[in-house]
Protein backbone atom coordinates (compact mmCIF):
# COMPACT_ATOMS: atom_id res chain seq x y z
CA UNK A 1 0.00 0.00 0.00
CA UNK A 2 1.52 3.40 -0.96
CA UNK A 3 2.61 5.61 1.93
CA UNK A 4 0.05 8.23 1.06
CA UNK A 5 -2.54 5.60 1.33
CA UNK A 6 -1.31 4.22 4.62
CA UNK A 7 -4.04 3.61 7.11
CA UNK A 8 -3.87 5.69 10.27
CA UNK A 9 -2.63 3.88 13.36
CA UNK A 10 -6.13 3.34 14.61
CA UNK A 11 -8.41 1.51 12.26
CA UNK A 12 -11.78 3.13 11.73
CA UNK A 13 -14.18 2.41 14.45
CA UNK A 14 -16.76 -0.03 13.39
CA UNK A 15 -19.86 0.09 15.50
CA UNK A 16 -23.08 -1.61 15.27
CA UNK A 17 -25.57 0.91 14.15
CA UNK A 18 -29.25 0.47 14.29
CA UNK A 19 -30.79 3.91 14.18
CA UNK A 20 -30.90 6.24 11.16
CA UNK A 21 -29.17 9.16 12.93
CA UNK A 22 -26.30 6.81 13.77
CA UNK A 23 -25.88 6.05 10.10
CA UNK A 24 -25.43 9.75 9.37
CA UNK A 25 -22.85 9.97 12.07
CA UNK A 26 -20.93 7.03 10.66
CA UNK A 27 -21.07 8.40 7.16
CA UNK A 28 -19.89 11.73 8.44
CA UNK A 29 -17.06 10.09 10.28
CA UNK A 30 -16.14 8.02 7.24
CA UNK A 31 -16.17 11.09 5.07
CA UNK A 32 -14.08 12.90 7.65
CA UNK A 33 -11.55 10.07 7.64
CA UNK A 34 -11.43 10.09 3.89
CA UNK A 35 -10.84 13.82 3.91
CA UNK A 36 -8.05 13.36 6.45
CA UNK A 37 -6.52 10.66 4.28
CA UNK A 38 -6.67 12.84 1.23
CA UNK A 39 -5.13 15.71 3.16
CA UNK A 40 -2.32 13.42 4.32
CA UNK A 41 -1.86 12.16 0.81
CA UNK A 42 -1.51 15.69 -0.49
CA UNK A 43 0.87 16.62 2.29
CA UNK A 44 2.98 13.60 1.36
CA UNK A 45 2.95 14.62 -2.26
CA UNK A 46 3.86 18.14 -1.30
CA UNK A 47 6.77 16.88 0.78
CA UNK A 48 7.90 14.68 -2.05
CA UNK A 49 7.75 17.60 -4.48
CA UNK A 50 9.71 19.75 -2.04
CA UNK A 51 12.35 17.05 -1.66
CA UNK A 52 12.71 16.73 -5.43
CA UNK A 53 12.91 20.52 -5.85
CA UNK A 54 15.64 20.66 -3.18
CA UNK A 55 17.61 17.94 -4.90
CA UNK A 56 17.51 19.70 -8.23
CA UNK A 57 18.43 22.99 -6.61
CA UNK A 58 21.51 21.41 -4.95
CA UNK A 59 22.84 19.77 -8.11
CA UNK A 60 24.00 23.02 -9.83
CA UNK A 61 25.61 24.16 -6.57
CA UNK A 62 27.55 20.90 -6.34
CA UNK A 63 28.65 21.25 -9.92
CA UNK A 64 29.79 24.81 -9.33
CA UNK A 65 31.78 23.73 -6.29
CA UNK A 66 33.41 20.96 -8.30
CA UNK A 67 34.25 23.36 -11.12
CA UNK A 68 35.84 25.71 -8.60
CA UNK A 69 38.03 22.89 -7.26
CA UNK A 70 39.06 21.92 -10.78
CA UNK A 71 39.89 25.53 -11.60
CA UNK A 72 42.07 25.79 -8.51
CA UNK A 73 43.89 22.59 -9.47
CA UNK A 74 44.47 23.84 -13.02
CA UNK A 75 45.73 27.13 -11.67
CA UNK A 76 48.18 25.30 -9.46
CA UNK A 77 49.44 23.19 -12.34
CA UNK A 78 49.85 26.27 -14.51
CA UNK A 79 51.73 28.18 -11.85
CA UNK A 80 53.93 25.23 -11.00
CA UNK A 81 55.03 24.28 -14.44
CA UNK A 82 54.34 27.20 -16.71
CA UNK A 83 54.50 30.33 -14.60
CA UNK A 84 54.74 31.51 -11.09
CA UNK A 85 56.51 34.58 -9.83
CA UNK A 86 59.72 35.79 -11.39
CA UNK A 87 62.87 33.91 -10.41
CA UNK A 88 65.48 35.61 -8.30
CA UNK A 89 68.90 34.30 -9.30
CA UNK A 90 72.28 34.97 -7.73
CA UNK A 91 75.62 33.60 -8.85
CA UNK A 92 78.68 33.52 -6.61
CA UNK A 93 82.01 32.77 -8.23
CA UNK A 94 85.63 32.34 -7.22
CA UNK A 95 88.83 32.02 -9.25
CA UNK A 96 92.20 30.79 -8.08
CA UNK A 97 95.36 30.75 -10.15
CA UNK A 98 96.49 27.15 -10.51
CA UNK A 99 99.21 27.09 -13.17
CA UNK A 100 101.14 29.44 -15.48
CA UNK A 101 102.67 28.32 -18.74
CA UNK A 102 105.03 30.31 -20.91
CA UNK A 103 103.98 30.39 -24.52
CA UNK A 104 104.90 32.33 -27.65
CA UNK A 105 101.87 32.35 -29.91
CA UNK A 106 101.47 35.08 -32.48
CA UNK A 107 97.86 35.35 -33.67
CA UNK A 108 97.55 37.15 -36.96
CA UNK A 109 93.93 36.51 -37.88
CA UNK A 110 90.75 36.35 -35.84
CA UNK A 111 87.46 34.90 -37.08
CA UNK A 112 84.14 35.20 -35.25
CA UNK A 113 81.85 32.26 -35.90
CA UNK A 114 78.13 31.87 -35.29
CA UNK A 115 77.51 28.19 -35.65
CA UNK A 116 75.32 25.28 -34.64
CA UNK A 117 76.80 22.05 -33.34
CA UNK A 118 74.90 18.79 -33.24
CA UNK A 119 75.48 16.38 -30.36
CA UNK A 120 74.53 12.75 -30.82
CA UNK A 121 74.46 9.76 -28.52
CA UNK A 122 76.59 6.64 -28.93
CA UNK A 123 74.13 5.20 -31.42
CA UNK A 124 74.17 8.29 -33.57
CA UNK A 125 70.74 9.61 -32.56
CA UNK A 126 70.48 13.35 -32.12
CA UNK A 127 70.44 14.53 -28.50
CA UNK A 128 70.39 18.28 -29.13
CA UNK A 129 71.58 21.12 -31.29
CA UNK A 130 73.46 23.99 -29.68
CA UNK A 131 73.98 27.41 -31.23
CA UNK A 132 77.11 29.26 -30.19
CA UNK A 133 79.42 32.17 -30.89
CA UNK A 134 83.14 31.51 -31.01
CA UNK A 135 86.29 33.46 -31.81
CA UNK A 136 89.00 31.46 -33.56
CA UNK A 137 92.58 32.72 -33.59
CA UNK A 138 94.88 31.71 -36.44
CA UNK A 139 98.63 32.18 -36.25
CA UNK A 140 101.87 30.42 -35.46
CA UNK A 141 104.33 29.63 -32.71
CA UNK A 142 107.14 32.17 -32.89
CA UNK A 143 109.62 29.58 -31.68
CA UNK A 144 109.14 27.79 -35.00
CA UNK A 145 110.13 30.91 -36.91
CA UNK A 146 113.57 30.47 -38.48
CA UNK A 147 115.98 33.20 -39.50
CA UNK A 148 118.85 32.50 -41.87
CA UNK A 149 121.04 34.35 -44.33
CA UNK A 150 121.39 33.73 -48.02
CA UNK A 151 124.80 35.01 -49.26
CA UNK A 152 124.90 33.18 -52.57
CA UNK A 153 124.82 36.53 -54.31
CA UNK A 154 127.41 38.73 -52.62
CA UNK A 155 125.83 41.85 -54.05
CA UNK A 156 122.37 40.89 -52.90
CA UNK A 157 122.53 39.25 -49.52
CA UNK A 158 119.25 38.21 -48.09
CA UNK A 159 118.02 37.75 -44.57
CA UNK A 160 115.60 34.88 -45.00
CA UNK A 161 112.79 34.53 -42.51
CA UNK A 162 111.01 31.21 -42.82
CA UNK A 163 107.49 31.24 -41.47
CA UNK A 164 105.86 28.05 -40.17
CA UNK A 165 102.43 26.98 -41.40
CA UNK A 166 99.50 28.95 -40.10
CA UNK A 167 97.33 26.97 -37.72
CA UNK A 168 94.36 27.37 -35.41
CA UNK A 169 95.80 28.59 -32.14
CA UNK A 170 92.55 28.39 -30.17
CA UNK A 171 88.78 28.54 -30.47
CA UNK A 172 87.15 30.48 -27.64
CA UNK A 173 83.46 29.73 -27.21
CA UNK A 174 81.37 32.39 -25.47
CA UNK A 175 79.55 30.54 -22.66
CA UNK A 176 76.74 33.08 -22.55
CA UNK A 177 75.96 32.56 -26.22
CA UNK A 178 74.99 28.88 -25.94
CA UNK A 179 71.40 28.26 -26.96
CA UNK A 180 69.95 24.75 -27.05
CA UNK A 181 67.23 22.91 -28.93
CA UNK A 182 66.73 19.49 -27.39
CA UNK A 183 65.48 16.52 -29.40
CA UNK A 184 63.92 15.23 -26.19
CA UNK A 185 63.34 17.29 -23.07
CA UNK A 186 64.97 14.69 -20.87
CA UNK A 187 68.33 15.39 -22.53
CA UNK A 188 68.28 18.84 -20.88
CA UNK A 189 70.29 17.60 -17.90
CA UNK A 190 72.20 19.47 -15.22
CA UNK A 191 75.55 18.59 -16.88
CA UNK A 192 74.72 19.10 -20.55
CA UNK A 193 77.48 21.74 -20.85
CA UNK A 194 80.10 19.01 -20.39
CA UNK A 195 79.27 17.75 -23.88
CA UNK A 196 78.18 21.05 -25.41
CA UNK A 197 81.42 22.96 -24.94
CA UNK A 198 83.73 20.42 -26.60
CA UNK A 199 81.23 19.98 -29.43
CA UNK A 200 81.08 23.73 -30.11
CA UNK A 201 84.86 24.10 -30.03
CA UNK A 202 85.41 21.17 -32.34
CA UNK A 203 82.73 22.46 -34.70
CA UNK A 204 84.28 25.94 -34.87
CA UNK A 205 87.79 24.59 -35.45
CA UNK A 206 86.59 22.20 -38.11
CA UNK A 207 84.72 24.94 -39.95
CA UNK A 208 87.76 27.18 -39.79
CA UNK A 209 90.11 24.48 -41.10
CA UNK A 210 87.73 23.79 -43.97
CA UNK A 211 88.10 27.38 -45.19
CA UNK A 212 91.53 27.80 -46.89
CA UNK A 213 90.91 31.50 -47.44
CA UNK A 214 91.31 32.10 -43.71
CA UNK A 215 94.78 30.58 -43.71
CA UNK A 216 95.79 32.50 -46.84
CA UNK A 217 94.73 35.75 -45.19
CA UNK A 218 96.55 34.75 -42.01
CA UNK A 219 99.77 34.08 -43.91
CA UNK A 220 99.55 37.46 -45.63
CA UNK A 221 99.13 39.21 -42.32
CA UNK A 222 101.98 37.24 -40.79
CA UNK A 223 104.22 38.39 -43.61
CA UNK A 224 103.20 42.03 -43.00
CA UNK A 225 103.90 41.68 -39.31
CA UNK A 226 107.36 40.15 -39.77
CA UNK A 227 108.22 42.73 -42.39
CA UNK A 228 107.14 45.49 -40.00
CA UNK A 229 109.34 44.14 -37.24
CA UNK A 230 112.37 43.37 -39.43
CA UNK A 231 112.59 46.18 -41.96
CA UNK A 232 113.68 48.85 -39.44
CA UNK A 233 116.59 46.62 -38.40
CA UNK A 234 117.90 46.30 -41.95
CA UNK A 235 117.30 49.80 -43.29
CA UNK A 236 120.78 51.00 -42.45
CA UNK A 237 122.38 47.92 -43.98
CA UNK A 238 122.09 48.31 -47.72
CA UNK A 239 123.86 45.00 -48.28
CA UNK A 240 120.96 43.07 -46.90
CA UNK A 241 117.39 42.71 -48.05
CA UNK A 242 114.57 40.80 -46.47
CA UNK A 243 113.05 37.67 -47.92
CA UNK A 244 110.09 35.95 -46.30
CA UNK A 245 109.22 32.41 -47.28
CA UNK A 246 107.00 29.66 -45.98
CA UNK A 247 108.01 26.06 -45.25
CA UNK A 248 107.18 25.08 -48.81
CA UNK A 249 109.68 27.62 -50.15
CA UNK A 250 107.06 30.02 -51.51
CA UNK A 251 108.32 33.59 -51.38
CA UNK A 252 106.07 36.38 -50.19
CA UNK A 253 106.82 39.84 -51.56
Amino acid sequence: MPESRKWPDKPPQVRNVCAADDIDTVVTEIMKEETDMEREDQTGKKQKRTAIRKRFALRPIRLLLLAAVVAAAACFIRCSFFGGEEEQTTVLTSSQLAEVLKISELSVYKVTFNGVAAVNDEEGDLLYNVAYEAKVNVGFDTEELFVSVDETDAADKKIVVTLPDMEVMDAVVDPGSLDYIFAKKRTNTDDVSATAFPACKADAEEECRANPLIFEQAMENAVHTIRGLTQPLLEQYEDYSLKIVDKGGVTYE
Binding site: I103, L145, V172, I181, L234
Partner: protein, 199 residues
Amino acid sequence: MNRRTFLFVLPALLLLLCGCGAKEEEQTEKKPEISISDMRAVCELATMECYYHNTAKLDSEKKVLFWNTSKKLWIEYSGIVKLGIDVSRVDMKVDGNVVTIAMPEAEVLSCDVDETSLTKDSFYSETKGLGSGKVGAEEQSQAFEAAQKEMRAVVEQDEALLLQAGDRAKILLENYVKQIADAAGVTYEVRWEAVAESD
Protein backbone atom coordinates in the same frame (compact mmCIF):
# COMPACT_ATOMS: atom_id res chain seq x y z
CA MET B 1 30.90 11.45 -9.31
CA ASN B 2 28.25 10.29 -11.80
CA ARG B 3 28.64 10.24 -15.54
CA ARG B 4 26.85 13.55 -16.08
CA THR B 5 29.07 15.39 -13.65
CA PHE B 6 32.19 13.80 -15.12
CA LEU B 7 31.19 14.86 -18.63
CA PHE B 8 30.78 18.41 -17.39
CA VAL B 9 34.05 18.55 -15.44
CA LEU B 10 36.36 16.92 -17.98
CA PRO B 11 35.92 19.49 -20.79
CA ALA B 12 36.18 22.33 -18.24
CA LEU B 13 39.46 20.91 -16.94
CA LEU B 14 40.89 20.48 -20.42
CA LEU B 15 39.87 23.99 -21.41
CA LEU B 16 41.45 25.48 -18.33
CA LEU B 17 44.74 23.67 -18.84
CA CYS B 18 44.93 24.48 -22.52
CA GLY B 19 43.82 28.04 -22.01
CA CYS B 20 46.52 28.74 -19.43
CA GLY B 21 49.09 27.14 -21.65
CA ALA B 22 52.84 26.89 -21.45
CA LYS B 23 54.96 29.77 -22.63
CA GLU B 24 55.53 29.18 -26.26
CA GLU B 25 59.11 28.15 -26.71
CA GLU B 26 60.88 30.42 -29.05
CA GLN B 27 62.34 28.33 -31.81
CA THR B 28 65.91 29.35 -32.50
CA GLU B 29 66.44 29.41 -36.19
CA LYS B 30 68.86 26.61 -36.95
CA LYS B 31 71.25 27.78 -39.61
CA PRO B 32 72.28 25.05 -41.96
CA GLU B 33 75.75 26.51 -42.41
CA ILE B 34 78.15 28.23 -40.12
CA SER B 35 78.08 31.98 -40.42
CA ILE B 36 81.18 34.09 -40.19
CA SER B 37 80.20 37.40 -38.69
CA ASP B 38 83.65 38.95 -38.55
CA MET B 39 87.09 38.28 -39.99
CA ARG B 40 89.92 40.62 -39.27
CA ALA B 41 93.66 40.83 -39.14
CA VAL B 42 95.11 41.03 -35.67
CA CYS B 43 98.57 41.00 -34.25
CA GLU B 44 98.50 39.51 -30.76
CA LEU B 45 101.52 37.92 -29.16
CA ALA B 46 100.37 35.63 -26.35
CA THR B 47 103.20 35.09 -23.91
CA MET B 48 101.51 33.42 -20.94
CA GLU B 49 98.75 30.92 -20.52
CA CYS B 50 97.20 30.89 -17.03
CA TYR B 51 94.97 28.14 -15.69
CA TYR B 52 92.43 29.11 -13.06
CA HIS B 53 90.40 26.86 -10.83
CA ASN B 54 86.90 28.33 -11.00
CA THR B 55 83.75 27.61 -9.07
CA ALA B 56 80.32 29.01 -9.84
CA LYS B 57 77.42 28.73 -7.40
CA LEU B 58 74.04 29.57 -8.83
CA ASP B 59 71.07 29.98 -6.49
CA SER B 60 67.63 30.56 -7.94
CA GLU B 61 64.46 31.15 -5.88
CA LYS B 62 60.89 31.34 -7.07
CA LYS B 63 57.54 31.54 -5.32
CA VAL B 64 54.89 29.13 -6.59
CA LEU B 65 51.41 29.98 -5.28
CA PHE B 66 51.98 30.11 -1.50
CA TRP B 67 55.38 28.47 -0.99
CA ASN B 68 59.01 29.07 -1.91
CA THR B 69 61.02 26.86 -4.25
CA SER B 70 64.73 26.90 -5.00
CA LYS B 71 67.28 25.54 -7.45
CA LYS B 72 71.01 25.26 -6.84
CA LEU B 73 73.81 24.56 -9.26
CA TRP B 74 77.52 24.33 -8.49
CA ILE B 75 80.11 24.03 -11.24
CA GLU B 76 83.81 23.38 -10.78
CA TYR B 77 86.11 23.71 -13.79
CA SER B 78 89.36 25.15 -15.16
CA GLY B 79 89.44 28.42 -17.02
CA ILE B 80 92.28 29.47 -19.33
CA VAL B 81 93.44 33.05 -19.68
CA LYS B 82 95.99 34.12 -22.29
CA LEU B 83 98.05 37.23 -21.60
CA GLY B 84 100.15 39.10 -24.09
CA ILE B 85 100.63 42.26 -26.07
CA ASP B 86 99.19 43.88 -29.16
CA VAL B 87 102.16 43.77 -31.54
CA SER B 88 100.51 46.23 -33.94
CA ARG B 89 101.21 48.92 -31.32
CA VAL B 90 104.91 48.03 -31.09
CA ASP B 91 107.13 50.74 -32.50
CA MET B 92 110.79 50.06 -33.35
CA LYS B 93 113.36 52.81 -33.89
CA VAL B 94 116.94 52.09 -34.87
CA ASP B 95 119.70 54.58 -34.23
CA GLY B 96 123.10 53.15 -35.06
CA ASN B 97 123.25 49.94 -33.10
CA VAL B 98 120.65 51.00 -30.53
CA VAL B 99 117.19 49.67 -31.06
CA THR B 100 114.48 51.40 -29.05
CA ILE B 101 111.30 49.42 -28.83
CA ALA B 102 108.11 51.04 -27.59
CA MET B 103 105.87 48.27 -26.36
CA PRO B 104 102.34 48.47 -24.91
CA GLU B 105 101.50 46.91 -21.56
CA ALA B 106 100.40 43.33 -21.43
CA GLU B 107 96.68 42.68 -21.41
CA VAL B 108 94.16 39.84 -21.32
CA LEU B 109 93.88 38.48 -24.85
CA SER B 110 91.33 35.72 -24.28
CA CYS B 111 89.36 33.88 -21.58
CA ASP B 112 88.38 30.32 -22.32
CA VAL B 113 86.86 27.26 -20.65
CA ASP B 114 89.12 24.22 -20.45
CA GLU B 115 86.69 21.65 -21.75
CA THR B 116 88.96 18.80 -20.62
CA SER B 117 88.16 19.82 -17.04
CA LEU B 118 84.41 19.45 -17.60
CA THR B 119 83.07 16.05 -16.61
CA LYS B 120 79.81 14.85 -15.12
CA ASP B 121 81.49 15.21 -11.72
CA SER B 122 81.96 18.94 -12.31
CA PHE B 123 78.25 19.63 -11.83
CA TYR B 124 76.23 19.49 -8.60
CA SER B 125 72.57 20.38 -8.49
CA GLU B 126 69.67 20.40 -6.08
CA THR B 127 66.02 21.43 -6.32
CA LYS B 128 63.60 22.10 -3.45
CA GLY B 129 59.87 22.64 -3.39
CA LEU B 130 57.01 21.50 -5.57
CA GLY B 131 57.05 23.26 -8.91
CA SER B 132 60.68 24.40 -8.73
CA GLY B 133 61.55 23.00 -12.16
CA LYS B 134 64.82 21.31 -12.91
CA VAL B 135 68.34 22.60 -13.31
CA GLY B 136 69.18 22.67 -17.01
CA ALA B 137 71.12 24.32 -19.78
CA GLU B 138 69.95 27.86 -19.06
CA GLU B 139 71.27 27.81 -15.50
CA GLN B 140 74.58 26.39 -16.66
CA SER B 141 75.05 29.13 -19.26
CA GLN B 142 74.31 31.78 -16.62
CA ALA B 143 76.79 30.24 -14.19
CA PHE B 144 79.57 29.93 -16.77
CA GLU B 145 79.10 33.46 -18.02
CA ALA B 146 79.35 34.87 -14.49
CA ALA B 147 82.38 32.72 -13.66
CA GLN B 148 84.26 33.72 -16.82
CA LYS B 149 83.58 37.41 -16.14
CA GLU B 150 84.88 37.03 -12.60
CA MET B 151 88.00 35.23 -13.83
CA ARG B 152 88.76 38.02 -16.30
CA ALA B 153 88.26 40.63 -13.56
CA VAL B 154 90.64 38.76 -11.24
CA VAL B 155 93.35 38.58 -13.92
CA GLU B 156 92.99 42.21 -14.94
CA GLN B 157 93.62 43.20 -11.34
CA ASP B 158 96.70 40.98 -11.03
CA GLU B 159 99.38 43.50 -11.92
CA ALA B 160 102.21 41.13 -11.10
CA LEU B 161 100.96 38.58 -13.59
CA LEU B 162 100.52 41.21 -16.29
CA LEU B 163 104.05 42.47 -15.65
CA GLN B 164 105.37 38.95 -16.06
CA ALA B 165 103.55 38.62 -19.37
CA GLY B 166 105.02 41.93 -20.51
CA ASP B 167 108.51 40.88 -19.50
CA ARG B 168 108.20 37.67 -21.47
CA ALA B 169 107.07 39.64 -24.53
CA LYS B 170 110.21 41.72 -24.19
CA ILE B 171 112.30 38.54 -24.11
CA LEU B 172 110.65 37.20 -27.25
CA LEU B 173 111.05 40.46 -29.17
CA GLU B 174 114.63 40.82 -28.01
CA ASN B 175 115.37 37.27 -29.16
CA TYR B 176 113.97 38.07 -32.58
CA VAL B 177 116.10 41.21 -32.87
CA LYS B 178 119.15 39.15 -31.86
CA GLN B 179 118.39 36.54 -34.54
CA ILE B 180 118.24 39.23 -37.22
CA ALA B 181 121.38 40.83 -35.90
CA ASP B 182 123.24 37.50 -35.86
CA ALA B 183 122.16 36.80 -39.42
CA ALA B 184 123.33 40.26 -40.52
CA GLY B 185 126.53 39.97 -38.55
CA VAL B 186 125.82 43.01 -36.40
CA THR B 187 125.19 43.70 -32.74
CA TYR B 188 122.20 45.59 -31.43
CA GLU B 189 121.53 47.07 -28.01
CA VAL B 190 117.86 46.96 -27.16
CA ARG B 191 116.17 49.63 -25.10
CA TRP B 192 112.59 49.72 -23.95
CA GLU B 193 109.99 52.38 -23.51
CA ALA B 194 106.27 52.23 -22.83
CA VAL B 195 103.67 53.12 -25.41
CA ALA B 196 101.30 55.90 -24.35
CA GLU B 197 97.83 54.45 -23.63
CA SER B 198 95.48 55.15 -26.56
CA ASP B 199 92.08 56.64 -25.93
